[in-house]
Symmetry: C2
Subunit: 338 residues, 2 copies
Amino acid sequence: MSQTASIKDVATHAKVAVGTVSNVLNYPDRVSQRTKERVLNSIAELGFVRNDAARQLRAGQSRTIGLIVLDVGNPFFSSVARAAEDAAAALGSVVLVGDSGQDASREAHYMDLFQEQRVQGLLLSPVGDVAERIRTLRERGVPTVLLDQLADEDHCSSVSVDDEGGGYLAARHLLDIGRRRLAFVGSPTIRQVAHRLKGAQRAVGEVEGADMEVLDSAGQTVLAGRQVGNALVERGPAGRPDAVFCSNDLLALGVMQSLAMLRTIRIPEDVALIGYDDIDFAISAVVPLSSIRQPTEALGRTAIELLNEEQESGGTKHRAVVFTPELVVRESTAGSRS
Amino acid sequence: MSQTASIKDVATHAKVAVGTVSNVLNYPDRVSQRTKERVLNSIAELGFVRNDAARQLRAGQSRTIGLIVLDVGNPFFSSVARAAEDAAAALGSVVLVGDSGQDASREAHYMDLFQEQRVQGLLLSPVGDVAERIRTLRERGVPTVLLDQLADEDHCSSVSVDDEGGGYLAARHLLDIGRRRLAFVGSPTIRQVAHRLKGAQRAVGEVEGADMEVLDSAGQTVLAGRQVGNALVERGPAGRPDAVFCSNDLLALGVMQSLAMLRTIRIPEDVALIGYDDIDFAISAVVPLSSIRQPTEALGRTAIELLNEEQESGGTKHRAVVFTPELVVRESTAGSRS
DNA sequence: CGTACCAACTGAAACGATTCAAAGACATAT
DNA sequence: ATATGTCTTTGAATCGTTTCAGTTGGTACG
């Protein structure tokens, strides 16, 4: 029926030139009160809605920012995404969220997609090695900010949290409450996880007689955690660590589920457990979960800020912001045993 | 520097007409092997990337589907969103997710935005009264499928879960384990919540001597739940209900946190607690949470299917799919007291 | 009265893809 | 040699905006 009215239809209806209609929309001050009213009436009458594709084509750039995360189901990322959306909205932009699911090919797919959309910029929590890709993107006018991963400052901007420091904090805490046989659970192929592991190893190295084994998990989800937990249960009391540090809270909750299933293993008495991210659900776990808190809102907000700086500088100036994580102690690591 | 090469640049570089380049991209069979190779080489050499805005402008429609949810932070919605994304990807479309935060104006904002983008279609979990709006959208060629809310079939397609049935299931279960003083927690201004409440009231009406009070929560989050929980704690044992039905799991987890803080209230002995949605975290709660499970993947997948049907029928045929929820019993409502 | 200036408005030219009628090239049949 | 058909390629027209040089009409000033 009416399908969609174009700016030309509005112009005809209001008996003005198309340029005038465009001005009403974009530079209201350039238009006299009388004509403005006439045009606005016609717009309402015809139900005109701007065609963003046409505007974008002419403008050469969209009002869209691409965001690629490792897992939207992870509250850490959804929290960062929300903060980024809010910050972008304040600047009149929209954030498009893509989920790479820690898969390099899906990541590449979204990068292609965003490039086709000529996004204003890209926020990326990378899986694979993207340095080269980011360079070409910048050459083509798409600034990129690395999210949750430190970047070389003269190469690319980034917002991250000190993962090694966080790892150290977590392990140090487990050692402080008297544990000596630690286990680290995570997928060290993910850079953030590798850093957390490194920090934890440093803490372990500082304490005589302490050691830590590394349990590679298949993914970073509750399910993956449950699998690791089951493996631990099967080992029997003698072979089990007395403290477990999981590289994120989902894993930790999964491990906790498995351990708690066997009523004989007590948390924290037999096994202390600490996670990472401090998601909302950590506090309401079977045993409230100790964790490392990351400033998610600040991450999202700052990422947008840096993107803005990149745009304004034409992609020449880069800045790397690093936030400091914070230890949150709850029951899962309460008290000391010794 | 190179900024972005256009199809025209590629044509010049490969010494062919622009139409040929377009054909290589869209109808490879129409082009001879030799020219195809030449063109593909030029594309690679110039680093050409299709401009989606231009394509869309010409095509009149985008390959984008809009999805507006009440809260992306809620695992229920993020799970539905992910399923929808996967289903859309299989059809070569992308899903754009907007978060209304249960705010009618933000909802309207996203609807405007998506309309400007000329999305293929809209999946909407509505806050306000959108019937009129949906009608105009369809007139303009944007089919809409209601998500998580039943629609009048000769008006609009929808995918939903039988909320009243779910509410009945939950309350009936509380009554079955011997509870008589129920409380319902939620914001009945949200339609889904109102239906769950209605179902619960039906169940209560069937049992002699049972009653249920309604506690209005400010929102549907863990935080809102904690507030309600604190209020319950302050009442003292005599004034407290012996069973609480929360309209979603986030609320239930919040209530649980508050109640568990006071070590004197035992779950389920003193207060039985049941949530709704069966999110992943329900099982790992302090006291594993009973809940009503909704088939989130099926919801997301079916929503995309229905959208497709709408498109193919030109928005004339509508279908309303209703799924049946399922009771999941865990410790928070275990055993009987009487 | 002539000149300058200003605000308001006009309308054609981009933007970069897709589409499609038409032309070209070549082989086969008559 | 001509006609017919198939396969490939061409390039202008189109989509709906924004932009910008240029026109119009009116007011102010000397």
